[in-house]
Symmetry: C2
Subunit: 285 residues, 2 copies
């Protein structure tokens, strides 16, 4: 039942399309008796794009994505983030080298760096004579990371709505101090992740990755016991069918995920993040 899907926003709002999209996401049927629309279709058919055409993004793309990002909720309207739009190939290459040499950073015409930015609030506080001492707490760093993420995700939905593709780059946290130097960040600013943006290469189309069954992540009223391995075993099988179709090495999610979080050696240098953040001016009290 895996049907061909397209990257461009689709205006067909039929039930059949809804069922196809949900099936692609779970490799299993999911009943959702709600009329489908273009926005839902854009969201549910998301895929991370790692191959781009060399074409520049349309004029106004950066401004549109920032407007989408700023339209996300912000806790107490603090707006504790900034974004840096990098298009210079030499700078992209240096950032790619710092982020584990992911080729999509070189290929994508636009690389957005999403910055947890407490410096603006420190400056505003100093200006009005109320030093921003609460920013020293872990809570404030966390609030900054949450708001930055909500903002970036709005940008992702917006860029897909105009036919572009993207890929989050968490590898930018492998060497945060070097990234901060490359971007000229002030103290109290931290590049949380990158986002490559461009026109998806139709020759190497990305696919919708299946996710865990809803039974594994959704609870009613209270958290349920997860000791049942059943939904995860079902997912291992579904992910293998996806890997097989993609010509990837077949490997259970249980195995893959466990290896990814097995210890300090699986964190690509990010095991020292706390100390590095302290060095960037975040006390994390």
């Amino acid at each position: 039942m895996t049907l061909e899907t397209t990257l461009a926003p689709v205006r067909d709002t039929s039930h059949a399309l809804r069922e196809t999209r949900l099936y692609d996401r779970y490799r299993d049927a999911l009943e959702v008796p709600i009329a489908w629309n273009e926005t839902l279709d854009t969201i549910v058919s998301h895929r991370s794009v790692r191959a781009y055409l060399p074409d520049a993004v349309p004029d106004g793309t950066v401004e549109l994505l920032v407007a989408a990002a700023q339209s996300a909720a912000s806790s107490s309207n603090l707006q504790p983030w900034s974004v840096i739009a990098v298009e210079d190939p030499a700078r992209k290459a240096r950032l790619a080298a710092l982020a584990g040499n992911q080729k999509q950073i070189l290929q994508a015409p636009l690389f957005l760096l999403w910055i947890v930015d407490h410096e603006r609030l420190h400056e505003v506080g100093d200006r009005v004579g109320t030093p921003a001492r609460a920013l020293h707490f872990l809570e404030s760093f966390l609030l900054g990371a949450v708001d930055t993420s909500l903002a970036a995700q709005n940008a992702v939905v917006a860029l897909e709505a105009i036919g572009l593709g993207s890929c989050y780059i968490g590898g930018i946290r492998n060497k945060p101090a070097e990234v901060a130097a490359e971007l000229g960040l002030p103290p109290h600013a931290f590049a949380l992740f990158g986002l490559t943006v461009g026109h998806p290469d139709p020759v190497a189309p990305a696919s919708v990755k299946p996710r865990l069954p809803q039974e594994a992540v959704l609870f009613r009223e209270r958290y349920g016991a997860q000791r049942s391995a059943e939904p995860i075993a079902a997912y291992d099988v579904r992910l293998r069918s996806f890997q097989r179709e993609q010509g990837m090495i077949e490997r259970d999610w249980s195995e893959q995920a466990s290896q990814r979080v097995r210890g300090a050696d699986s964190l690509a240098g990010r095991d020292v993040l706390r100390q590095v953040l302290n060095g960037l001016g975040f006390r994390l009290d």
Copy 2:
């Protein structure tokens, strides 16, 4: 130039609509030469809804929002989050009391709790014989918070696309241990924020909140000096015009934001978040 806006998704893709939406977001003109569409319109007209009708959400809403959430990117496909859908009025009332008594939690028919969930990964690791030791690092907690936020924001766009409204509830972090007990959370699980969901009350419509000018948050190639107070002074004026229209007390953003982050006493108990997280099983090494 402030025109009347509506909550329901709009299919008018004209330039005039685009300009109205962007003007409402910034209280200033923003040139974006990109064709408007329903998804962009939904995103840019976001507003936080704090007054709801008593009507239940449509059948399938929770499943739809979870499918949207799971469609967001996930770092290394770790999927380190869960969501708990609370509809029981008594439980909502107890959670509201823990979260600073925000009335929208009582009013909204659905309250979603977004959980950074490392417990599932710990269990999977134990099952395959590879203990998930990397989860003890701050990086892993941060990754969980980022992925949970990306997921929740997709749910927000999806719910607005079907005419519902929502409000993030960061106040759920005021008393994380008590919230964990109420929800029956296992160790290695933390309620990052709540989200009220329901039908917006048309008698008390929410408004689009203006945001900082793009000059204050968007940089090209490298972070720019923010020492210029100009864009922020312009914003103070624009936010005051919004407050005046809303019948709110007029107050500069600079003043409001600075007071919100002035010190431990302005954090509603969240200054002890680090210790509480340690108690919930997150070492944050």
